[in-house]
């Protein structure tokens, strides 16, 4: 469970995030939807304690990332915007590295990798070096790496970026299964269809602020539109950044 209240962050004169408030519950998929440059990635970076907020409050399962960064990092599984795998290590070694950094035993890591290999269908490439992997294979390894320590809360930045239809389907299926296991999943995206197909709750972010917050049905109702796309345009007040 994530609670964010009135979050602010500036870089020099640029106010990237100015007053973001939302709640992401366990057993729900929360989508941060917004055009490019709306402040989604910055918000996520503050959640996983890589950036300190200028102002505002964050609680993840009751913990404050500015005070208990290490504890929070243990309960978080993060698939950041930059997937960055080590190309000279195999997929298994990449995942093992993160397991070891989490202090897991060799045996626990091995079991967990076996499980993730099956769930994410990575059997074909788990023992290959990641040099020359396809986007889909990369995302799968990045997700497995983030999930190796069985985190309760999962943050994903643009998870389906650059994936083909089949891989996107498989990914959505996996994210739903995480929700059904009771995890809290937060993902950021600028793709409408993704939100419509996947998210239980939608937080629309534009220009660093929350423009609207609710289920898909609530957003349609509030904006008086028939489609989510129209609702989105109406709620953020422009078509800027939609054509990505």
């Amino acid at each position: 469970m994530i609670e964010v209240k009135n979050l602010h962050k500036s870089f020099g004169d640029v106010k990237a995030v100015k007053g973001v408030t939302f709640t992401a519950r366990d057993g729900e998929i929360t989508g941060l939807l917004g055009p490019n440059g709306a402040g989604k990635t910055t918000t996520l970076r503050m959640l996983y304690s890589l950036l300190p907020p200028d102002q505002g409050e964050i609680r993840i399962d009751g913990l404050d990332p500015t005070r208990s960064a290490m504890e929070i990092k243990r309960t978080l599984g993060v698939v950041p915007d930059s997937r960055g795998l080590y190309s000279r290590l195999t997929a298994r070694e990449n995942i093992t590295y993160y397991g070891e950094l989490h202090g897991m035993s060799k045996k626990a890591i091995q079991q967990r990798i076996d499980h993730l290999t099956e769930t994410l269908d990575m059997g074909d490439f788990i023992d290959r070096r990641t040099e020359g992997f396809s986007q889909g294979q990369r995302v799968k390894v990045a997700i497995a790496r983030a999930m190796v320590h069985e985190p309760q809360t999962i943050l994903m930045d643009e998870p389906s970026n650059g994936l083909d239809v089949m891989t996107t389907r498989a990914l959505r299926h996996y994210i739903r299964s995480l929700r059904d296991e009771g995890h809290s999943v937060v993902l950021s995206t600028h793709i409408m269809q993704e939100v419509a197909a996947l998210c239980d709750r939608i937080v629309i972010i534009a220009k660093g602020e929350v423009a609207a917050d609710g289920t898909a049905a609530q957003l349609l109702e509030r904006s008086g539109s028939d489609s989510l796309e129209d609702a989105f345009v109406k709620l953020i007040g422009s078509e800027e950044g939609l054509l990505a």
Binding site: E71, K73, H102
Partner: protein, 392 residues
């Protein structure tokens, strides 16, 4: 410390698989530098020897004014060549190193018993003409001495009257202490290899990690950042040390093939000497790893880091240059200066001098202290979010 060792193990494994890293840090230096060193020495000595053994070809102007001098020169093995048309130009264009001109008033002065004028035309700023100039002057001086003695004897004076002082050379330099070139260059070459051994790793583990976009996910792990950075730096230090050790071994293998006699040089590196040199230089490896990691952490990309490294590699050169321009005697306070103290200490060790333990201690301690301060700075650098995201 679990995080630290995990990072260390992973970096070692990853970089051992990187053939470019292995080649750059562990092979290039150890192979290239000793060969370069020996090649240079061999070239210098053989060129020197060649010039000394060559017959002296000497163009002479106005040879007919001084037939007995010419005869003397020929007896001493000089090959007298006919009068050139434009001797100055010949010397300046380096066609001949030296030309002798006997002036027209030579016979007259000679007959009167006054100093007879000759000119040695040469360009001493050219390194390669030094040997022939010296030989020509030596021959002229010898001839003058001989004639002078004869004249004194003719007048019934002992020639010894004209030599109030007798100079005898008493050479106390041992073959080892004459190895001045080696004393200057060997420490430099060794320190360079510590830096080259560290360069690739320092860049790959920081700027490279940033460029490959793997730094952000790495820092999300529940490991303090200083442990991650220290793990990386220890890997870099290990590579720098390995590069250093391999270079020393390589020197040991190559040195016996050096032209020893010409320089009067005795440069066998025994196992004990090797170990002492390694001990003296290991703080440099730590200093190099910390300094390079610190700098590379600021860079946005591998390429940017590379442009800094080019300059840093000049740093170990500075003490050697000072030393070359102004060879000074080692003193205790100098042991407090990193890179400089190693330079002096290795020089002393090669010359076979005994060095007090305090000097070793001071040199190691001061370099280590500065290295550790730099390492501490580098370890905490990624606590600044600006540096994590720069370039992304």
């Amino acid at each position: 410390m679990r995080g630290l060792t995990t990072v260390f193990k992973k970096e070692v494994r990853e970089n051992i698989r990187d053939h470019r890293a292995l080649f750059n840090s562990l092979l290039l230096g150890p192979l290239l530098f000793p060969l370069l060193f020996v090649g240079m020495m061999w070239f210098v000595t053989s060129a020197e020897k060649e010039r000394a053994e060559q017959t002296l070809e000497l163009p002479v102007i106005g040879a007919h004014y001084a037939p007995s001098l010419i005869r003397f020169l020929e007896q001493q093995g000089a090959e007298i060549q006919p009068e050139p048309e434009n001797p100055e130009e010949l010397v300046l264009s380096q066609e001949v190193p030296v030309v002798l001109r006997i002036l027209p008033e030579y016979p007259e002065k000679w007959a009167e018993g006054l100093p007879a004028p000759v000119e040695v035309i040469s360009d001493p700023s050219r390194q390669e003409s030094n040997a022939p100039i010296k030989r020509v002057k030596g021959l002229l001086y010898g001839y003058g001495q001989q004639i002078g003695s004869l004249r004194l004897q003719l007048r019934g004076v002992s020639p010894q009257v004209a030599s109030p002082i007798m100079i005898k050379d008493v050479d106390l330099s041992t073959p080892k202490s004459r190895a001045i070139l080696a004393v200057i260059f060997l420490p430099y070459v060794l320190m360079i290899t510590a830096f080259t051994g560290a360069t690739h790793l320092a860049m790959d583990t920081t700027a490279g990690e940033k460029e490959r976009k793997s730094l952000e996910p790495l820092l999300i792990n529940p490991v303090p950042r200083w442990q991650i950075m220290t793990g990386k730096m220890i890997t870099t230090m290990v590579f720098a040390m390995a590069s250093l050790a391999l270079t020393l071994v390589s020197f040991r293998i190559v040195l016996p093939y050096m032209p020893v006699g010409a320089f009067g040089m005795d440069l066998t590196l025994g196992l004990e000497t090797l170990l002492i040199i390694l001990l003296i230089l290991s703080p440099v490896a730590i200093l190099a790893a910390a300094l390079l990691t610190l700098l590379a952490s600021f860079a946005k990309s591998y390429r940017e880091a590379q442009s800094y490294m080019g300059l840093v590699i000049l740093i170990p050169m500075i003490p050697s240059l000072i030393f070359m321009a102004n060879p000074i005697k080692a003193e205790a306070w100098m042991m407090g200066i990193p890179l400089f103290s190693q330079n002096l200490l290795i020089g002393e060790v090669i010359r076979g001098e005994t060095v007090s333990l305090g000097w070793y201690g001071l040199s190691i301690a001061s370099t280590l202290a500065i290295g550790l301060v730099l390492a501490a700075l580098a370890a905490n650098l990624y606590n600044r979010p600006k540096l994590i995201f720069s370039g992304s």
